[in-house]
Every structure is written in structure tokens, then in C-alpha cells.
């Protein structure tokens, strides 16, 4: 068995999805943890410190490349599988199979994933681009959102950027919708990833199901609450 044979087989392709998916799931924990610092309500002190810490670490910057690679692989592999699987039934049914045995979101991972991809493009444009590329297409003049740390070094003020972006109700709604897509995507993806990597012990599967649901709901609500909190002025 060659590596190519392994990764191009149906299970191998699913493995790629599962591994990148689990990597992204791990990333989301870090991401939500850091962002939750905005609720310290200290004018963004804690949050910006964390964000700057992350962006100044070489390891993290390397990981960031991995993160982008992970996302891209997850997206491309996912789309490839979606179209390939669709092509396996050239003549379809007159009556659709429907609900029995599966959830709508399990059957709609391609759609949810695509929505998430669109969300992600917007999200990167809002935050990653200005912070990493120094406002190349920034929506605000740079000096208004820049931030100086205790040692006098200038950083991009991500907190201010957030406050700024989430003043727009349409953006807030789009973010909340993105979080809902994320919740459902994870609701299936979390457990499915573990099944794909071969967890078949019923006790563990049961545990993973509950952990997965908890994770999907908590992560997504936490993320969704951020734009809402800012828009409603709960933090400033």
C-alpha cells in the first residue's frame, strides 16, 4: 500500500477530513479562549495582550501557516468528496429518502461548510487582514485603531477593530448566522471525525457524542455572544 493509495482511498480522504477537522476544532478552543478576554471589560487590555502575545510568537506564526493549510485542505477535500459522492448516483429517486436515521445537518455538511467558508472570508477580511497585513484594505485609518503596549511598541489594536466592526448590525447578524452554521457543522463533524479515525467502542462513542454536542453549542454560543455583546454595548 502506497501513501498515495491510502490518502486517495475513500477512507483515506475521510481521514484527511477528520484530521484537519479535529485540528480546526482544537484551534477553535484557543480562539474562543483568547477572544473571551474581551469580557474582562478592561478596555481590551487583557485581550490585546493575549493577541499580541500570539502574534509575536514564532511558533504560533508557524502554526498559523498550518492553520491556513488545514483550512484549505479541509475545504478542498470536502468539496471534492461532496461532488464525488454526489456523482455516485447519476439517476436519482423520484421520492427523496428523507429524515429517517439521519439529521438534516449531517446530510448538509457540504452546504454548512460552504456557508462557513463564505463567513470565513468575511472574517479574515475583518480581522486577520488588518492585523497581519497592516491595513492594506483597512476600513478605518490605521492610527485610529493602533495600540501601544507598555514597552512603547506599536501593535494593531485588535480590540478596537472588533468594537469598530461590530457596530454594524448587518455584520453582527452575519456573524451570528456564521456561528449557527458552525454549531451545526460541528454537531456532526465532531463525532463523525472520531468515528472516521476509528473510535468504535460504544462507551467512548457515547461520551464523545455528549462532549461533541456540548462543545458545538458552547463554542458557537460563545462566539456569537461576542458581536452581540459589543453591539449591545455590554462591553466597551
Amino acid at each position: 500500500m502506497t501513501w498515495k493509495q491510502m490518502f486517495t482511498s475513500s477512507i483515506g480522504q475521510k481521514l484527511t477530513m477528520a484530521l484537519t477537522g479535529l485540528f480546526l476544532i482544537t484551534f477553535l478552543i484557543v480562539h474562543v479562549g483568547l477572544n473571551a478576554c474581551i469580557w474582562a471589560n478592561d478596555g481590551g487590555q487583557m485581550f490585546n495582550t493575549g493577541a499580541n502575545f500570539m502574534s509575536s510568537m514564532l511558533v504560533i506564526r508557524i502554526m498559523e501557516i498550518g492553520l491556513f493549510a488545514g483550512i484549505i485542505i479541509h475545504v478542498i477535500q470536502g468539496l471534492l468528496l461532496f461532488f464525488e459522492n454526489k456523482s455516485k448516483r447519476k439517476i436519482g429517486y423520484a421520492i427523496e429518502y428523507g429524515e429517517r436515521g439521519s439529521k438534516w445537518y449531517s446530510r448538509s455538511m457540504g452546504l454548512l461548510g460552504t456557508l462557513l467558508l463564505l463567513f470565513l472570508i468575511m472574517h479574515i477580511y475583518h480581522f486577520w487582514v488588518p492585523s497581519r497585513l497592516g491595513g492594506m484594505w483597512n476600513i478605518k485609518p490605521l492610527e485610529e485603531v493602533d495600540y501601544t503596549n507598555g514597552l512603547g511598541k506599536q501593535y494593531h489594536n485588535l480590540y478596537a477593530e472588533m468594537i469598530n466592526v461590530f457596530q454594524n448590525p448587518i455584520v453582527v447578524i452575519l456573524y451570528v448566522l456564521g456561528c449557527i452554521s458552525l454549531a451545526y457543522h460541528l454537531m456532526h463533524g465532531f463525532e463523525s471525525a472520531f468515528r472516521t479515525i476509528g473510535v468504535h467502542n460504544n462507551r467512548y462513542l457515547k461520551m464523545l457524542r455528549y462532549v461533541g454536542r456540548g462543545y458545538s453549542i458552547i463554542i458557537s454560543i460563545a462566539f456569537a455572544m461576542m458581536p452581540i455583546s459589543i453591539y449591545l454595548g455590554w462591553i466597551r
Binding site: 493509495q5 477512507i11 459522492n85 455516485k88 429518502y97 428523507g98
Partner: protein, 256 residues
Amino acid sequence: MEHYNMNLTLKIWRQKDAKAKGGFETYQVKNISSEMSFLEMIDVLNEDLITEGKDPIAFDHDCREGICGSCSMYINGKPHGPWKATTVCQLHMRAFKDGETVVVEPWRANAFPVIKDLCVDRSAFDRIVQAGGYISVNTGNAVDGNAIPVDKDKADKSFAAAACIACGACVAACKNSSAMLFVSAKVSHLALLPQGEPERKTRAINMVAQMDKEGFGSCTNIGACEATCPKEIRLTNIARLNAEYLSAALTIDKEN
């Protein structure tokens, strides 16, 4: 349970042969007893068609007791019809109400081409088994049956997986036309037994390779197959197959 008679409108897929285009035909059946099996209802319709000088509906069936795996009808959007853990031949007409319209289609998947009307070619399943769904033991080599004790729990799980009748309903129900439930049932049946150990790696790898070659889709763990399986083969088997396959693919020490 109260017995009753019913009249039904049937919309059935008709296709002269593998090359023909095919389409739905509408038929009326009258005075169908709630005690009939679904196939007996089709028998009645076929008798009528023969009397009218028309071609009866071709469908696969044999044992009519839910074990041979021949019957294969997609009824009102469900392989084997609305009942749980049931093959079409065991589906009885008390599942339907008077005046209902019932749509009957063949299994749909590229890997299961239609041969005629509701008959499809499922030989892909045989070829998957040929790729490794066995234990290589020639007749006459066996040791005493009790020489190899088998953990009862594993023996029971192995049996539950081996209960698969290869009807193909899992493929028909799956939005990806995946045969993973079938393949995983066979791999699980043999991997759970000590006798299956020597060929464990090659079996998983070769059967999956053949499954892919036959044109089945991949598994996205949605669970429609499990809910449709007349023998209630569990989705866990698919996870077990994934484990078998990945551990084999990662550790096998040969290129081909």
C-alpha cells in the same frame, strides 16, 4: 388487529432492459387484503397484467422470509418500505391505508445498474467479498472447534455483523451511495474472530479498494443506512472498519 381491504394507486418504475430509458407507470390495484405481504400485492398486480396481455413487473425475490436478501424495492422513499428492520417480502399491507398512492423504484446507485424494471445488478458485492471477505482455510485443515475459545462478547458482535444479507438497502438509502455498512459488516464479522486475525490487514485494505473501484461513495457517518438495514447492522461497524483500515494502511509493510 383488524383486517381490512384497500385500493391503491401504484407508480412503478418500468424499464425494459439495462439500456432502455425507463419511466414510471401508474396502476390501480383493488381489494388488497391487509394480511398480504407487499410482494403478494405485486403478485396480484402481475396476474392482472398477464391477463391483460401486458408484461408483468420484474422484481427480485426468492425466500420471502427476509433472509436471502434478493428483494429490493424502494417504496415511498424508503428502501424496503416504511417498516423498521424489515425486508420488502416481510412488509405487510397493513402498513398502508385505503386510497394511498405508493411509489416503487429500484435501488439507485451507479454501482447497482438496473437490469429490468425493479431488478438491479448487485454483483459488485460479490466482487468485494472476492477481494478478501473470507478466511483462507482449505477444507480439511481445521483444528477442533473448541480448540480456539472466542470471547462471547466478540462472538456475539461478530454474529450481529454477519447477519448482513447483502440486500444493498444501505447503499440505496445512503445519499453518497456508500457500501460502507456492507463492507464494514463483513470486515467486522471476520476481524472480531481470532480465526480472522492472519488476514486482517490485507482484508480491510483490499475490500475497501474493491469497494472504491466498484463506484460506491464514501461514508459521512449520517446513519441512514443503519436506520434502513433490515438486519439492524450497526453504524459502529463502520467505525470499526475505519480503525481496521487505518491501522492496516499505516502499518502494513509492503507497497502493493
